[in-house]
Amino acid sequence: MSNVSIRNLCVSLGGNRIIENLDLDVIESEFLVLLGPSGCGKSTLLHSIAGLIDVADGSIAIGGEDMTWADPADRRIGMVFQSYALYPTMSVEGNMSFGLRIGGTPKAEIERRVKRAAEILHLEPLLKRKPSQLSGGQRQRVAIGRALVREADVLLFDEPLSNLDAKLRAELRRELKLLHRKLRSTMIYVTHDQVEAMTLATRIVVMQGGKIQQIGTPESVYSKPDNLFVAGFLGAPGMNFLNGTLACDRSMVRFAAGQVDLDVSNYAFKHEPRHDMTVVLGIRPEQIQIGDQGNLTGVVSLVEPMGNHEIVWIDYCGHSLAAIVQEMREFKADDRVRFSVDAAKISIFDQFDEARL
């Protein structure tokens, strides 16, 4: 168990700056998820922590020790790859023990560690098999086992579940969370899947263009996004955005956009709002309450039943808003509905620097 501390990190690949002046502190025993669209630099960051990519500038410390130029094998890390990367000519046991055999660990100790990892991951009956004789889920378990036997301080995961089908992915996701609770080792996990990020992380790091956009618990990143990018990246269906202006009038603050007129007085502004400021209003679909006591009216344009909930698309003054309705009610297209929005739970962003107000 170790913390990881990254200072002023710069990484170039093929002449392109992928990461520039990045600072990140990974707390001991936490499950940190690096989340972002493809090409945002999250995998590059993980690979440079592992020592598989040379950094251009800055430092990486693991467990308080400077590892910027250490060999990957000496960083006390274990890593799991998207493509499993199992050694095809070796058995499951051989795959898991390869690193220990190289390191000259005594035979009895190797056996003990492999046995323990196999137990945790339910791999005991498969130890003599070759990777080609395993299913996708089993292969990824072996890859996790290979990282576990190193008894590393930090475990790195590079999109480990992306090659699995939806059902297996959910299953292994749960197992990973249980594994983290059991081992309490520091885990850094790269994914582009927001569901994985929300369910697994103790903290999420949202990245874009090689820069960290926001760091926080899943709840805070989801409900209080720092900027428009984070707000738009998380959530399915995505956050509803309305472009408009603020109208400040003594104690009242109103949001106006064409015919839209919303009272946002009880929104927790970080900065004092200015009159006539151009802003983007963000409303999560589940914050739109459809009900007869609602103060706004719109027309249903589309209903998407999802089994346990419905997504209702509402035409409101020329804007299309998605609303998530938990109780299955009979909404039809072209119905007129009343709805309300709780201003305390919405997000407002400056239209120019896209930062949260």
Partner: protein, 294 residues
């Protein structure tokens, strides 16, 4: 009543197009097989029969004597010991040359694909250029170099030459093969603490069986069929079978023993021929691997 569906039959009738295809294939096969047929038939005829001039006729009196003569008592210049000496010489040249060139090619390909040292691309380009320069251009400088190293006209000398000339193609073959292996595999091994040689020997080489077979086929047939390098660099004691065959056929004293010449030629080509027959599938795969990817 259930509607019955008439099953469509595959068309197996001989239509004119099909007959045309077969006619072409048969004539193409005959074109290549006829010389072999003449060689085989001639090699088992006594000289009296050959003098009659019916080269397509089957032998009237069958004899294996020309084969024995070719193997053990035909005259190669001054000596009359057949070409069996050449067979063993060729074997002594081919075996170590094949093993060494494959090992070096695999090591080069591995280093170029995974370690990507500074200037690796340039180095590979230069190596590839070597594959396109005709051998004849390099013979004189190589003779000088080997003479300076005291390796000229020796077994180690000719092996070294074959290893050098095999390197570009072997490197290309292995580099392309390793390029198809996911890089994450290599990275996983790096995290497991594998060094340059350990990853090569314990991970990459065991995964390379298919391409090693292809490389072995290419090298064995290539080196066995070599004539000019063996003639120049092997020295009198180590002349390969191809050079001795040439000597048998070009011996000018007495009558030309066509039957012995045919038998000697077939004997010499037996090794590559049997390799082609046994491993044709692998050979085609190797050529495709070398040609398509690049």
């Amino acid at each position: 009543m259930n509607a019955t569906v008439t099953r469509a039959r595959r068309n197996t009738r001989l239509d004119p197009a099909r007959i045309g295809i077969y006619a072409f294939l048969v004539s193409a096969a005959a074109f290549f097989l006829l010389p072999l047929y003449i060689m085989l038939v001639t090699s088992v005829k006594p000289m009296d029969e050959i003098r009659l001039g019916n080269i397509f006729a089957l032998p009237l009196s069958f004899t294996m004597e020309p084969w024995q003569t070719a193997w053990s008592s035909a005259c190669t210049g001054v000596d009359c010991e057949g070409i069996r000496g050449g067979f063993w010489n060729s074997l002594a040249i081919v075996a170590p040359s094949t093993v060494l060139s494959i090992l070096i090619g695999a090591l080069n390909g591995y280093a170029l694909s995974f370690w990507r040292a500074r200037g690796a691309g340039l180095l590979f380009g230069i190596l590839m250029m070597g594959a396109f320069i005709p051998v004849q251009v390099m013979i004189y400088p190589l003779v000088q170099i080997l003479a300076a190293l005291h390796l000229f006209s020796s077994l180690p000398g000719i092996i070294l030459i074959h290893v050098i000339f095999g390197m570009p193609v072997m490197t290309l073959l292995f580099r392309n093969y390793y390029a198809s292996i996911p890089e994450e595999l290599f990275k996983a091994a790096r995290i497991d603490g594998g060094g340059f040689f350990r990853i090569f020997l314990q991970l990459m080489l065991p995964m390379s069986t298919p391409i090693i077979i292809v490389a072995a086929i290419m090298q064995v047939t290539g080196i066995w069929n070599d004539y000019i390098l063996g003639l120049v660099f092997a020295g009198r004691e180590n002349l390969p079978m191809t050079v001795q065959l040439n000597n048998v056929i070009n011996t000018t004293t007495g009558v030309r023993l066509y039957n012995v010449n045919m038998a000697a030629t077939i004997l010499t080509s037996l090794v590559p021929l049997s390799i082609y027959l046994v491993s044709g599938r692998w050979f085609v795969r190797g050529i495709a691997a070398g040609a398509v990817k690049g």
